[in-house]
Subunit: 352 residues, 2 copies
């Protein structure tokens, strides 16, 4: 039910039956306002997606809008998948990271770490992030973090995050222009490519690593890179996502090269969905192969073959693919005894 992308199955199998703290990083980049660049939300209100995702994940209710975020074609947010797993086999703790969102989630009793970070700008005009500050906030967060459970699942909700991830990887010099994913089935290459190209044009020879991140990244990518280095292999961590999480690893890789530092990654893994793994428009394995350190990576072997809901079938046709840690959530479900039928049925129940 869980398959290996890189390494072997042992790391994830060692987490079987164990309890996890699930952390959702929420961030807005104004890149998402570029028309047609993402389908992760409601046109004109894309910035609401992280807010709505967190509300739905925690309470089953969407409070800052009437309906669960739906894409124009009616692809339901992957938060549905994560919530379904949480209902059947709960994460022991859920925590939220506010890394710059326009609208705060209407939640009580759930821990929201407000990191005092502003939403970032459009990357084609320069993201204008104080990358060093965001990175150091992540670093301190990781260093100080006291894990209450057996391991940590780091997830994200950042609309147009695959675009910023692509720009970041290219900006850092990785030759991967065709390796990155998008939430669109028909990757909107013209818009995305022109945005990424414009973003990269802003980079000058004077820009060091953090100078590049200032201009083309998003808060989540930079913060999580800091968290990973701050945790320093002391806790088991599942990066819950596809090419965005792979980009975080590229950032970590670049920082380590710059620092010529020794860093253990034995407790670090990435887990995504089958839809990302099988995506013909991206290549997660090829991205991970660029890393100078070894890492285990997995995908949850789950699809909607058992469902007849047209809205869910869109996932099998390559829409949406990942987000809100859906792949790692599915793996968490499998590791705690759930099967495909149970999860499918629960997701269908949530759709109503």
């Amino acid at each position: 039910m869980i398959k290996t992308i890189l390494g072997n199955i042992d790391f994830i199998e060692s987490l079987r039956g164990k309890s996890a703290t699930y952390i959702l990083a929420m961030s807005n980049t104004k890149t998402a306002d570029i028309p047609g660049i993402t389908q992760a939300g409601i046109p004109g209100q894309i910035y609401l997606t992280p807010t709505l995702d967190s509300e739905f994940l925690c309470t089953g209710e969407v409070r800052s809008l009437e309906d669960v975020a739906k894409t124009p074609k009616g692809v339901p947010t992957p938060a549905l998948i994560t919530r379904a797993v949480h209902l059947l086999s709960s994460f022991k703790n859920i925590e939220l990271l506010d890394l710059g969102i326009k609208v705060k989630p209407k939640l009580e009793y759930f821990k929201i770490h407000n990191m005092q970070i502003e939403p970032s700008n459009k990357i084609d005009e320069g993201a204008n992030i104080d990358a060093m500050e965001v990175f150091q906030k992540g670093l301190v967060f990781g260093q100080a973090y006291e894990l209450k459970d057996d391991y940590l699942i780091l997830a994200e909700s950042v609309p147009s995050g695959t675009t910023t991830a692509t720009a970041t990887a290219l900006g850092l010099g990785y030759k991967c222009s065709e390796l990155f994913s998008s939430s669109f089935k028909e990757v909107p290459n013209s818009i995305r490519n022109s945005t990424v190209t414009k973003a990269l044009e802003n980079i000058t020879k004077e820009d060091d690593l953090f100078g590049v991140l200032n201009k083309v990244a998003d808060n989540m990518l930079i913060f999580y890179a800091g968290v990973i280095l701050g945790l320093n292999n002391k806790a088991k961590v599942v990066l819950a996502g596809g090419t965005q999480m792979a980009c975080i690893l590229l950032i970590v890789n670049s920082i380590l090269k710059t620092m010529e530092a020794d860093f253990k990654t034995t407790n670090l893994t990435l887990c995504t969905t089958k839809w990302v793994y099988e995506d013909t428009n991206s290549d997660i394995k090829a991205i991970l192969d660029m890393l100078d350190f070894k890492i285990n990576a997995y995908y949850a072997d789950f699809d909607f073959a058992l469902s007849s809901y047209p809205a869910l079938k869109l996932y099998d046709n390559g829409e949406a693919k990942e987000g809100v840690g859906a792949g790692a959530a599915l793996a968490y479900g499998f590791l705690n005894g759930l099967n495909k039928e149970q999860i499918t049925k629960q997701i269908e129940n949530l759709l109503g």
Copy 2:
């Protein structure tokens, strides 16, 4: 599966996947000996109900009698529901509170806190409780209690407890004569009303708050009020029951008013059954609305619609309704991934 009576869903959702210690308070009031006042047990041996409930909950066996406590019409004790959830998704710890019972449960290995309290008298003749002493025992218990799990479920088994709760609430001056529940479908108003009326006639102008409790309450109500104040919001607590638990909150409310004390209730909630929530002979929401502090309250959206067992269908017809923390147990099951089908089947299996 869990619905909100007061507040919003966040508090109970924040307990999803978390582990609980379940505490059952057992107490006898001789009020239960008044013929026809309660159906919570075997006529003539009503006092055995807490003993039998605790034995069955902990071991699945009824040791101090041959059969599981049944009401005259054959309504099985709600301990069946709580035991079924415990079998499917266990409470991490079960502890028993002996608050004055005639027959001690025959149990080994289960923690029984013997609080050195005697069964109380019939309220129509004066309960004759040293309310201050019982309260202080609860206070100390709460202050000293070290929670081993994520939260605490406080349940009760006190036959005729709704009668003493009604008398207590009225005795404290809350205008709620029609708001209280009973385990009968046809509330035996004549017996209950005359008992409550006689009890209230014993109260004199000289009686302060504890003077009133001395005469018309029961040990469980007073002790748990002390526990809540003793815990002082340091642990998350689910009051597991209907109108009796609401009465505890009224007592706490009255004490706080008398003391003019500041008290946080953010970690306190009440959770009951759908049968209590929908009861037309009582109004749990209206009782809770009388409180001067805010509180979240919920009910487990569970009934026996999926069962064809006549003995269980009686619940859907308004018999029994609550007890032994059935509502909170159902919610605990839902919060740990159980569904209605599984719970129904397990309860049916227990009935045999």
